[in-house]
């Protein structure tokens, strides 16, 4: 069993700065947990506390059933992959891979077997006698991953392992690490993984679950799909998804039929009955931030509901190939809509007029309390 549990884990630096605020997190056996957040959110610090490279100021870290707070890194049954590979420059790839086993006094033939097995998994066999400086970035990172696998740890830790690679290599390494995780899992080996990144694509594609952090606090832990669809708060909503979710300062009032009308500027948008019910239960004030993702804003047509239209002035358009990011201003706010290229070509490229009617799919929108920043429409 290699479940990882953080119980009220805190980190306070010697200058009194509290980097990690009593976080609780449970990572199941074999799970691929991604930790994401902006730089300085203490995701790496948390990982390093897990690895034993950073002392723990409060709370408990458990790997399996044991509290490992005071264990040395080597005794925790972990392996870590670093951002800049951290290969030993004076050792060949083979020596790099086998170093941990050699220190553990594993017999030489056993070391060779395990090293060869890992090398094969990562297609490192032809590189075994090279030194790290003779490797490309992608190869070096594969060696670093190999070094982790060779040790057969209970938990794999990754600290932004792909940040130093170019975009294309990053994409292929992403798939490779995911596949490796599945492969280890299916061969019944320990595969619990904690993966720190600041790249949403990595988080969304690789993670079984994602833990979003901000300033040493966990904002939400959930599956990628849920995180995207049901962000618990303003931060998660804004952090996950590109282009970002549109955030509009608005207020609401109740209509005669009991549903809510969201107002901003001169526009009023009608929320559906079910959303209105939820908001009414949770709302404290009528001041909210309305969140709506760019893909839920469309160009209005004759079928669009009249109470969900907003008139905007197009500021600029970005061609992404299959779709356009259309930026438009409403009053002083600038919003973004993702619109299919065929529709843009038909409706926007042939017209001089900058003014357009946009249809907001309010069933897909979110309302956040402006003070607590909590999502009150869930």
């Amino acid at each position: 069993m290699s479940k990882v549990t953080l119980e009220k884990v805190a980190k306070v630096y010697s200058n009194g700065f509290k980097a990690v605020h009593d976080i609780d997190l449970e990572i199941q056996d074999g799970e691929f947990m991604v930790m994401i957040g902006p730089s300085g959110c203490a995701k790496s610090t948390t990982l390093r506390m897990l690895a034993g490279l950073e002392t723990i100021s409060g709370g408990n870290v458990r790997i399996g059933k044991d509290v490992v707070n005071n264990l040395a890194p080597k005794d925790r049954g972990i392996a870590m992959v670093f951002q800049n590979y951290a290969l030993y420059p004076h050792m060949t790839v083979r020596e790099n891979l086998g170093f941990g086993l050699k220190l553990a006094k594993v017999p030489a033939d056993q070391i060779e077997k395990q090293v060869d097995e890992a090398a094969e998994m990562l297609e490192l066999t032809p590189l075994m006698d090279r030194l790290p400086r003779q490797l490309s970035g992608g190869q070096a990172q594969r060696v670093a991953v190999g070094r982790a696998i060779v040790k057969r740890p209970n938990v794999f830790l990754f600290d932004e392992p792909l940040s130093n690679l170019d975009a294309k290599l990053r994409a292929s390494m992403r798939v490779r690490i995911s596949d490796l995780h599945k492969q280890l899992k299916s061969s019944n080996r320990s595969a619990t993984t904690v993966y720190v990144t600041h790249d949403q694509t990595e988080a969304m594609t690789m993670g079984d679950r994602i833990c979003v952090m901000k300033e040493g606090v966990i904002m939400q832990v959930d599956t990628p799909a849920n995180l995207y669809k049901y962000p618990k708060n303003l931060f998660v909503a804004g952090f996950i998804g590109a282009p970002e979710m549109n955030m509009i300062d608005a207020s609401f009032f109740e209509l005669a039929d009991g549903s809510l009308n969201v107002e901003f500027g001169e526009f009023g948008l009608c929320l559906g009955a079910s959303k209105s019910e939820k908001i009414k239960k949770k709302a404290i004030t009528s001041d909210i931030t309305l969140g709506i993702r760019p893909e839920f804003i469309h160009l209005a047509d004759e079928h669009s509901a009249k109470d969900q239209l907003v008139k905007g002035t197009i500021v600029r358009m970005e061609n992404m190939g299959s779709e356009f990011y259309v930026y438009f201003s409403v009053g002083s706010q600038e919003l973004c809509a993702r619109i299919q290229t065929s529709i843009v070509e038909e409706k926007l490229l042939n017209t001089e007029s900058k003014e357009q009617l946009f249809y907001f799919d309010m069933a897909q929108s979110h309302a956040f309390d402006r003070k607590t920043e909590e999502n009150i429409s869930l």
């Binding site: 040395a72 890194p73 080597k74 420059p89």
Partner: protein, 303 residues
């Protein structure tokens, strides 16, 4: 090499250039010519004494101060032959041997102790670390002659006079702050990721030093060893104070010896032996030149 390549590139690209561009190129060439003439002249001025020493070693004694020519009019090996015999009962080989008897332990002890102390300073949390570090730097600034008398008295009490121990024993305690400082700077420039990876791989602090830090520090360690080697071979004051019997004299004292014993010094012998005396330093330097340059630049600028 670089320059010739630049010239070759320039020539290659000269076809089809405007008159203006050709003029600029010619100006650059003339500039380069003057630069090299000045550099060569300066180099010659600096090398002249050394070349003079070599040439004088082959001259008969009476010609040394009478002729300006670098080329001996009468080529003679007497300086080398007689110089090697020395005026004492020992040959010059003995003095070479004596030199290495204290230089080699000194270099080895310096490297080991400095690496350990630098590792401590660069990687561990020590109470009042800043204070200790400042103290270390202060010892670099302290003139070594200040310590001569107390140190002499101390070694006299310990009964170590007229042995090589006072020359190298202090090195076992990282007493040369400069080397420690140099290694600390080098270590500070190194990312700690490798060491963390090694800790996860199962290294304790000592294994970390042996398996990871020392191999990575190699260029800096070689620089330390080289500096210490050259400075020690050249050291005059240390042996002069602690070594009293001629059979234990190192090169530095032996050379002085030949000036003392006869009134009219045999300059050709002295210069011949001086020429031989610098050979070990030059050989050692040439052997490790690559690492040496790497070490001093890496220590100062980056890891």
């Amino acid at each position: 090499m670089m320059i010739s390549r630049i010239f070759a590139d320039q020539q290659k690209s000269q076809e089809g250039l405007s008159a203006e561009a050709i003029k600029t190129l010619r100006k650059q060439k003339i500039g380069a010519f003057f630069r090299y003439v000045i550099l060569i002249l300066c180099g010659a001025v600096m090398l002249y004494p050394l070349v003079w020493m070599f040439s004088a070693a082959f001259k008969p004694n009476y010609e040394i101060f009478t002729s300006l020519s670098l080329w001996p009019s009468e080529f003679s090996m007497d300086g080398f032959i007689n110089g090697w015999q020395t005026g004492t009962e020992y040959t010059f080989g003995r003095f070479f041997w004596n030199t290495f008897m204290y230089v080699i332990p000194k270099v080895i002890l310096t490297v080991i102790s400095s690496v350990i102390v630098a590792y401590g300073f660069a990687r561990f949390e020590i109470p009042y670390k800043k204070f200790w570090f400042v103290t270390l730097i202060a010892t670099i600034l302290l003139p070594s002659s200040v310590l001569l008398i107390p140190q002499y008295l101390m070694f006299r009490e310990m009964g170590m006079l007229d042995s090589y121990l006072p020359l190298y024993l202090p090195m076992a305690f990282a007493t040369q702050g400069f080397f420690v400082f140099m290694l600390i700077q080098f270590l500070r420039g190194l990312p700690t990721d490798m060491e963390e990876a090694a800790m996860i791989d199962g290294c304790n602090s000592f294994q970390l030093l042996i398996y990871i830090i020392v191999p990575i520090l190699r260029p800096a360690i070689i620089s330390v060893a080289l500096f210490q080697f050259m400075w020690s071979v050249n050291d005059f004051l240390g042996p002069l104070i602690y070594i009293s019997s001629v059979e234990k004299y190192p090169i530095a004292l032996a050379l002085k010896l030949s000036i003392d014993v006869t009134e009219g010094a045999q300059w050709n012998e002295i210069l011949a032996m001086s020429s031989i005396a610098i050979v070990p330093s030059i050989v050692v330097f040439l052997m490790s030149q690559k690492y040496f340059v790497e070490g001093i630049t890496a220590g100062g600028v980056k890891g």
